[in-house]
Amino acid sequence: MWLRYCPRSILRRRHIELTSSAPFVHQLHTSRADRSHSYYDGLYHGHIHTTPFQKALLAVGSGVAALQDPYRHDMVAVLGETTGHLALVNLRDRMRNDPEGYTILTERPRIRLSTLDLKNMASLPDGSFGREYLRFLEDNNVTPDSRAQVKFVDDEELAYVMLRYREVHDLLHTLLGMPTNMLGEVVVKWFEAAQTGLPMCALGAVLGPLRLNASRLQSLFTSLGPWALRNGRGARCVLNIFYERRWDQNLEDLRQELHIEPPPVTLHSPRKT
């Protein structure tokens, strides 16, 4: 009787796996990160099937967890995945309608340390996009590999869009000239909320300022905030840019192409101050 409540997809899935692949082939020692075997259970690596009820529970639970502990990036990610279906469809359609975006959807580039040529990027002239991005990574002590895996999106293409959005987030910091402190993150969130319409961004945009002190709040509401919203609405869709082919492009040129104004206030990264 409990079979009825176990997602039917799990039983079907296991059945397909076990008759098609050879589970009794001795498995080579898999690393802890790769615990979900060489064949995966869902539509893509890391995919977990969930019922609508589970998605709703996840959305509520992850929202609460993220509010209690904003450093739980995995919870923020889960919140984004479970609430962002409509926004993701919208983003995907915008990408399809743009030639460069369409190329990205077909080629599926990934921004990871392994795919970036750091030495080449370091040798680029100052003011070029690649050099500034590298400077951003160093100054703020971040790495492009720290993004959570997409787990709860039930469409393979939408999952890629979500992943691309996460990977582009750091590049947005560079484009907008914002560091990774709280104020910088909130400004980027406002921009993203205006651009993508993801509920998670909107939630972050609304709740993020609660943690800012008075002077930063003032800066946010008077100059940075309106600038971010204005540009978010007016700029080209940031997911439509094939960043991997534009490392040597001048940053100012890229900003003009995307219709992004330079930031009104220069914020310093945590390490520099």
Binding site: M1, W2, C6, A22, P23, R32, G61, V64, Q68
Partner: protein, 343 residues
């Protein structure tokens, strides 16, 4: 109806295993030492036996840190009542030696005298939940035995109002006094033991407690060592249950008691439906939100369904050589407490 469901489940799992598994199983009968090719279940998956052990190990390695918090969240705190019931049935006396297998985090029961100390210094890694006033088997056992000891002393004082010289000299503590009760907590997973030891240290409970790494199917103890053997919510993770039962029989003294607390088949059909929905829909979500690990809790929930029910487990115990086997259903059959004696 339960029987038909059971056969349906068995046929499904057989179908899942596929033809290759059936062939391998029959091969094994003729070839010994081919353990890697014998299959068993890992939740709803069918895996080879050597694989199962390492997969289970990895699951518990991942869940160790948040184990106690998750237990509270999943069972809504009721797991403490289950463990209290186990102690009540066990009714240990001072001097008893307990072996708690798969007792992992020993999940700290603070004996009453330490309870106030811990409330002043909350252990913040266990987050926003208050520290459990009474925790897991090992610590509950120590407290129970201590309270029994006090009770006996009080009784002796009441009875011995006009003692003879003989009585007075008998009551003088000699060397170590009454035989000390001891608990040995044994677990195959070092992570779980580490967490348990941290908790014991932070609560200040150190005497009478040992932590040993060991496999339930091959315990690192001599024969006839323990008065009591408990395994709470651990036996379904063992690859060969009969082997674990035989080992339990071996290390128990004659007259020793085996107690097993495990998730089992719910008897009430209404409750069963609710329980199934809760298990499959809510628990993995809780795992993801609290511990960041969906798959381990999916495994945990599936492994409960694969475990033999109350009567089958009773049969297994009797086959392994336990006498006077009985079971008690707790919370309508969600948990079953099995008890057997070595005679």
């Amino acid at each position: 109806m339960a029987a038909s469901v059971r056969t349906f489940v068995r046929s499904l799992s057989r179908k899942n295993a596929g033809f290759s598994a059936v062939l391998r199983l029959s091969d094994c009968r003729w070839f010994s030492g081919k353990a890697e090719e014998r299959s068993t279940h890992f939740g709803f998956e069918t895996v080879s036996e050597t694989e199962k052990a390492s997969k289970v190990y990895k699951v518990f390695e991942n869940v160790a840190q948040k184990y106690d918090v998750m237990n509270d969240a999943m069972s809504l705190g009721i797991h403490r009542l289950w463990k209290d019931a186990l102690l009540h049935v066990m009714h240990p006396q001072p001097g008893a030696r307990l072996l708690d297998v798969a007792g992992g985090t020993g999940k700290a029961s603070i004996p009453a005298e330490h309870a106030d100390k811990s409330r002043q210094n909350p252990d913040n890694i266990w987050l926003r939940l208050p520290p459990p006033p009474l925790g897991d088997i090992a610590f509950r056992f120590l407290e129970y035995v201590r309270s029994q000891q006090e009770r006996q002393q009080r009784r002796a004082v009441l009875l011995g109002q006009t003692p003879s010289w003989q009585d007075v000299s008998d009551r003088y503590p000699d060397g170590g006094g009454a035989p000390e009760s001891a608990v040995v907590v044994c677990d195959i997973n070092k992570e779980m033991l580490k967490v348990g030891r941290q908790r014991a240290d932070s609560r200040g409970v150190t005497t009478g407690l040992s932590w040993v790494v060991g496999d339930a199917e091959e315990l690192p103890f001599n024969d006839d060592q323990f008065d009591l053997y408990t395994i709470a919510f651990g036996i379904r993770n063992v690859t060969h249950i009969d082997q674990a039962l035989k080992e339990a029989l071996r290390v128990l003294k004659p007259g020793g008691r085996f107690l097993c607390l495990e998730f089992s088949k719910v008897t009430n059909p209404v409750l069963e439906r609710l329980y199934d929905v809760y298990s499959f829909q809510v628990i993995p979500v809780l795992g993801e939100v609290i511990a960041g690990d969906w798959k381990s809790y999916q495994y945990l929930v599936e492994s409960i369904r694969k475990f033999p029910d109350q009567e089958e487990f009773k049969g297994l115990m009797e086959d392994s050589g336990f006498f006077c086997v009985q079971y008690f259903n707790l919370t309508g059959g969600v948990v079953a407490l099995h008890s057997g004696f070595k005679l």
